[in-house]
Symmetry: C2
Subunit: 142 residues, 2 copies
Amino acid sequence: MTARAISIGEAARQSGVKVPTIRFYEQIGLMPAPPRSEGNRRQFDEKDLSRLSFIRHARELGFEMDDIRELLALTEQPQRSCHEADSIAARHLREIEMRIAKLQALSGELRRMVEECGHGKVCECQVIHVLADHGKCRSDTH
Amino acid sequence: MTARAISIGEAARQSGVKVPTIRFYEQIGLMPAPPRSEGNRRQFDEKDLSRLSFIRHARELGFEMDDIRELLALTEQPQRSCHEADSIAARHLREIEMRIAKLQALSGELRRMVEECGHGKVCECQVIHVLADHGKCRSDTH
DNA sequence: GCTTGCTCCTATAGTCGCTAGAGGAAGTAA
DNA sequence: TTACTTCCTCTAGCGACTATAGGAGCAAGC
């Protein structure tokens, strides 16, 4: 049994990547241009599905397109050392951890702001006052 | 002593908002169009500086432009109840906390991925394998 | 064969929050 | 006067899509 052609809609359903996004990925060269049917429709195969799922998953994990491009290139050379894949992931992990630290400082500031708001008038509102004056913040990380 | 006119460069230095960004804010109506000098240069005043600083600080705290627009409108009506400012900030806080939770799940996944990588060949690399198969993830939050 | 309704096609423009660059005019210091 | 800096407008670009318009293909029912 030969590989059945998969339509773009079917590919979208199976991979979780939306139809216009698949076309967009083709346009920017992240996905190869698939063969077309007589009626000019894209015909995907199982390999395309894997690639789409890989991309979707990496995007969900917050990898940038350039990283994904590199990771995809690595998957095409399975005999190479995985050192590069590892270092991309490790760098990404460091970035995420920094983003978490920053967001935690922000949420602390916001929580303090909201808690100290006496629910009175705007002219006394801590939310407004803190926003107007960075000096009222506890951390300098923003 | 009357209010001295402040140039856009000076306003940028004092507020921490870059020159093109100030012009951009004027363009999208976030800042009022200031009066001009004979030579067609923008003349800002202290009130503009406060507004710019307010915007910058709110941006640093991750507020979106629409939120900032609302908050700025509130500052112009100091006698109103601060209920709205409070709810904008509270909603924003909830969003940030959700983002933190998501990022923490991601960083856990990434850390596991990197730790389990045996630094062998790509074809055995956990980083690649996990990306290719969501089933290998511990959490469903992405 | 015809109609209905779905999926697919291309191409363009819009989103957000800026940032960069071109090409020129105004202001300032030596 | 010359050189340098700052300012002006306008346009286009970024990333990663998303939306819309205006068609064309295709399958099922009648």
